[in-house]
Symmetry: C2
Subunit: 143 residues, 2 copies
């Protein structure tokens, strides 16, 4: 059970944009270089994030991408869902109807516990929290 590269790259990319919130648009190329991600692949990932309304784009020279909302207003769960899909463990957790036994399935209760445990982590943090951690990390590095 792994988080896809798509989600890992996408999260790193949007964190870059969150760190640059309020500044000039940032280009795919810049993010790709910094994060060591394939330029072309990242293009597609950012397109996904954009179509979800999390970032806006500016075309042409000096263009790039900017975060669409304040980092404090973007929960990590929202980003994760866009990139990885809604299901965190098993489909029947979100959608009882996919299995007729779901109402009294014991293992489903287990998957739901795991699901909710992850969801708690993602719901209780925003991009702003990651930005702060990034800044703190950079300070440590400088000292």
């Amino acid at each position: 059970m792994k988080i896809s590269t798509r989600t890992r790259y996408g999260m790193r990319a949007i964190l870059e944009l969150a760190c640059a919130y309020g500044a000039e648009p940032m280009q795919i190329k810049v993010i790709a270089d910094r994060q060591k991600i394939s330029n072309k692949y990242l293009e597609q990932l950012v397109a996904i994030i954009k179509s979800a309304g999390l970032v806006r784009s500016v075309r042409g020279p000096h263009g790039g991408y900017v975060l669409a909302r304040d980092p404090a207003e973007i929960k990590l769960s929202e980003i994760f869902t866009v990139l990885e899909g809604q299901t965190l463990t098993v489909e029947c957790v979100d959608n009882q109807e996919v299995c007729e036994n779901s109402s009294d399935c014991i293992t489903r209760k287990l998957w739901k516990q795991m699901n909710d445990a992850m969801l708690g982590v993602l719901e209780n943090q925003t991009l702003q929290d990651l930005v702060k951690m990034t800044e703190k990390e950079r300070m440590n590095y400088q000292i």
Copy 2:
């Protein structure tokens, strides 16, 4: 991000064996029928569980499988790991060396939180807990 069918089926199968702990060996066929799982596929899954030492087998007529240890002594994390693999979110969480940036990677901290959240669920429950829930569920049904 989904838990594989392998893990879901395998967990249901071992729960059947846990419910039958102390009784006669239970055959693949019986489990497969009850859980509506392909017989042949389940054979392979139980083989995985067996090679991990969680169940023992008895060949020939009246044979089948029995849980190798008391259900209370088998943590759910052990079963999950055998079926799904060690990684719950991202490899670098268990294995820092797979990425040179892991030491100051902010997103890794996030994946680790999610990882630990799930692990907490799996570490703090044993098969015995699922057996009890199963019995309770059956009682509700009878009333």
